[in-house]
Symmetry: C2
Subunit: 211 residues, 2 copies
Amino acid sequence: MRVFVAGASGRVGTLLTRDLVEQGNDVVAASRHPEQFAGQDHVTAMTLDLHAPVEQLAEDLHGVDAVYFVAGSRGKDLLQTDAFGAVKLMMAVQQVGIKRFILLSSMFADEPSKWDDPNLRNITNYNIAKFFADQWLMTRTDLNYTIVQPCNLVEEPATGKVAFGVQHSTTNSIGDVAAVLAAVLDKPNTYRKIIMMSNGDIPIAEAVAQV
Amino acid sequence: MRVFVAGASGRVGTLLTRDLVEQGNDVVAASRHPEQFAGQDHVTAMTLDLHAPVEQLAEDLHGVDAVYFVAGSRGKDLLQTDAFGAVKLMMAVQQVGIKRFILLSSMFADEPSKWDDPNLRNITNYNIAKFFADQWLMTRTDLNYTIVQPCNLVEEPATGKVAFGVQHSTTNSIGDVAAVLAAVLDKPNTYRKIIMMSNGDIPIAEAVAQV
């Protein structure tokens, strides 16, 4: 499959790109830092500008079978990147007729009543950006989406194990988040689902199969 | 009619509150500066916190027949005030069963392809916030909404005259914007409509009647 990753040079995107290639896919690694992917087999580096109009993004998607949005501005450009950048990419995907879209979101992004949790209280702006992106995907598109909502991302070794649907915020190794994102790519049982993930004891393939 | 104005102490809200009272309404003037309305006849001042949960906002709406959202953070809190603050107020309005909702938006807020106009280029974040608020109102509620989209607001004397549907950005006196907002309150022909307004030659009552 030819897979477009928006935000490929980020912490999640870098590992996701690697995992997708290992699964046998060709990846269009779209980011502001395409030089990071120079010389990598099965990776086509592309400069991505999420401030560009929908028409430009649609051109970037030529020949692509599935699209990931894992870009993030780390709080610096939430409206134009995390929220509206994601929405424009969805619009572009719809425009060119791609059906599969996988969005990296954040735990409880669609449940504002939980945003006063001590772990979430300081990221309200981020949650609002993710809320609008998630909601657009679920209600304004007819895409086969999967929304992955991890807890706080931490730079710890991947465990290969997770729990889905846990109702309290813990942490997630970035490697495990990337692995879940890669694992759902061709799994129709994850279409039109939100996967809320946290640390756990279930091997990722097994957890994804049970969604 | 008992009318709730979110953002009553702002530049538009102050004049809107005055106009609504002159039309014979009682106004709940909700803002962060309720002291501004002390002693005004037919005005009940209320402290409004747009960071509050939907349930709190719903309580604030007790006994109200119609709701205006004219609050704005002037770029300082776009996600929590202009975008999600508006959405939460819509949710609260739906929750308590009020049907009439009037939203102050901005010219071309729902037409991103026009945001590179020289007059709009520097307010993309603002337009995105308004885009999400407008879109929520139009597609996620069943309210009898009217969205008023003026051009750049200027502190010039009101003319009492406007043009609707003009396709280029000019300016609007704040007084004229307030007068249009007040004029649409009880006009069913403005339900489920976007009114794009600019300076013009048509008396406001006449322009509103023609919507």
